[in-house]
């Protein structure tokens, strides 16, 4: 399995006024093709900065970041990215929002819209194609934003706390749904969360970050079989994982 994301010794310092604020320190992280990788850590530990750097939004850093075996400094990466906010355009209908990436790259054809039907169904948006974002529930908006992300270039998807703003029940449903969609498509997903249960349920491997300046303290392979189901969360094995992750985060005096 080739590594589609490979980060070695990534450090980053923000300069605020005259002061230097180290955000990331010697981060090592890698993701194999088609794997689901989570990054877990306390708020403000630099998870988002890490993702922003991978996406090419942060230009100044030390270390190397390889995406699809190419250095992002010389080859701006092509990947999909989703922020915590859905960032749907309020004046566009759901379908028009979803096809934005295709529209921008000039790939939008009538035939594509036909093919989209399958995806729209899968993302639970059937019947809402012509609704406006404000007419949708939080979960639906997030699914629309996710489908838009799905249609962005590249097989690597960076999700920065996509379910962070949802209520607990919607969140559980979204997790169940995401895992099903992901298991169908097997794109590489990098996922930020600070929810241990969510991370264990979804991921193949979890990278645990320390508080700022963020560094990877450890990584834990989750060996539940796929397809996953929620009952796995009520087993001894799950509790072992949870205990291990909590201990890792707690030793860092975070929880």
């Amino acid at each position: 399995m080739g590594l589609v994301v490979d980060i070695k010794g990534l450090s980053k310092t923000y300069k605020i006024g005259g002061e230097k604020l180290p955000v990331l320190k010697e981060v090592y992280l890698s993701a194999g093709k088609g794997s689901f990788i989570s990054v877990i850590g306390p708020s403000g530990c630099g998870k988002s900065t890490l993702f922003r750097t991978i996406a090419g939004l942060e230009k100044e850093f030390s270390g190397t970041v390889m995406v699809n075996e190419q250095d992002i400094r010389s080859n701006p990466p092509r990947l999909a990215y989703m922020f915590q906010k859905d960032l749907l355009l309020p004046w566009r209908t759901v379908i028009k929002n979803i096809v934005l990436p295709l529209e921008l790259s000039g790939k939008l054809k009538e035939a594509d819209i036909k093919n989209l039907e399958v995806l729209i169904n899968e993302f639970g948006l059937a019947g809402f194609e012509n609704a406006y974002p404000h007419e949708l529930s939080g979960g639906m908006r997030q699914r629309a934003a996710l489908l838009r992300t799905w249609l962005m270039d590249g097989d690597i998807i960076l999700l920065d706390e996509p379910f962070g703003a949802l209520d607990a029940l919607t969140r559980i449903n979204m997790q169940d749904w995401l895992i099903k969609v992901w298991e169908n498509h097997r794109k590489t997903v990098l996922f930020i969360t600070h929810d241990i249960e969510e991370a264990v349920y979804l991921s193949d491997r979890i990278f645990v970050m320390s508080k700022r300046p963020g560094t990877i303290i450890d990584n834990v392979a989750i060996e539940f079989e796929r397809p996953r189901n929620r009952n796995m969360l009520y087993t001894e094995v799950f509790l072992e994982y949870k205990k291990r992750l909590v201990t890792l985060l707690k030793d860092d005096k975070l929880l």
């Binding site: 922003r52 996406a55 090419g56 939004l57 990947l79 999909a80 990215y81 922020f83 906010k85 960032l87 355009l89 309020p90 004046w91 934005l100 990436p101 529209e103 921008l104 790259s105 406006y132 404000h134 007419e135 962005m152 270039d153």
Partner: protein, 256 residues
């Protein structure tokens, strides 16, 4: 909620009718002479009598208003887009635009007349000056109000500058653009009237001056009534266009 809406709809005509009756009654009881304060009924008679004349003058004023308003609209659009694209232009032009709003119009109006003659050009220029600022403020604010994350998302999607402008920034600017446009529309008629006031061949402003000088106060009130109706007309025209253009976005307004 429903009851509230209903009261809103009928409260305006009722209060207006009461005000008219009080006014009519006061003039009748106090026997105020017409040239000081004409009763509403006298104003109405004057309105009917001078109606053809008022229409002729109104047509001239509206010609100035429409040409000034549209010129300001085009000028604002071009300058706003340039200022948003080139920060340096914004830094240079913005102070002058603010200063242009601080020079009293009743000083500029006669000056423009001296420079550009007795025709409609100086009037159109005053309307442009009145309308340009609110439209530009709304447009510049709207065009620069994109969330930083949205800018970054578009960057990741590799959108070109012109795609970002036309597919995101311009539509996003519409609510604020229309706010500015409504202010401009409401003031445009007054701007034209003020510049006619200092000197013109035709127009509602010069009709005002003439009525005043000949103590035809009722005719003056009738003229003011026409000015109000035309101003409201401009305002509601823009409101109507806004609704047509950006319907189903009520929630968007609440959000932003």
């Amino acid at each position: 909620m429903k009851r509230f809406v209903n009261t809103g709809r009928i409260s305006l005509p009722i209060s207006f009718a009461i005000a008219l009756m009080v006014w009519e009654g006061a003039v009748y009881i106090l026997k105020t002479p017409d040239y000081l304060m004409p009763a509403p009924s006298r104003v109405f008679t004057a309105l009917v009598e001078s109606f053809p004349l008022l229409m002729r003058h109104g047509a001239v004023t509206m010609l100035e208003v429409i040409s000034g308003f549209l010129s300001a609209l085009i000028l604002s659009a071009v300058i706003s887009l340039l200022m948003v694209r080139y920060r340096i232009l914004y830094n240079i032009l913005w102070p002058y635009m603010v200063i242009s709003q601080t020079v009293p119009l009743y000083v500029l109006a006669p000056l423009f007349m001296v420079w550009f003659g007795f025709g409609i050009l100086p009037k159109v220029l005053i309307v442009v000056l009145v309308c340009f600022f609110p439209i530009t403020v709304g447009l510049v604010q709207g065009l620069t109000s994109t969330e930083p994350e949205l800018d970054e998302l578009l960057k990741i999607m590799r959108a070109t500058q012109s795609q970002i402008l036309w597919k995101v920034k311009v539509p996003q600017a519409m609510p604020q653009f229309f706010s500015g446009l409504k202010i401009a529309a409401a003031y445009s008629v007054t701007g034209a009237v003020l510049s006619e006031w200092v000197g013109a061949k035709e127009g509602l402003g010069i009709f005002l001056t003439r009525s005043m000088k000949t103590f035809k106060t009722a005719a003056l009130f009738a003229d003011v009534f026409i000015i109000i109706v035309l101003s409201l007309g401009m305002f509601f025209l823009v409101t109507y266009l806004e609704k047509k253009l950006i319907k189903r976005r009520t929630d968007f307004y609440e959000e932003s």
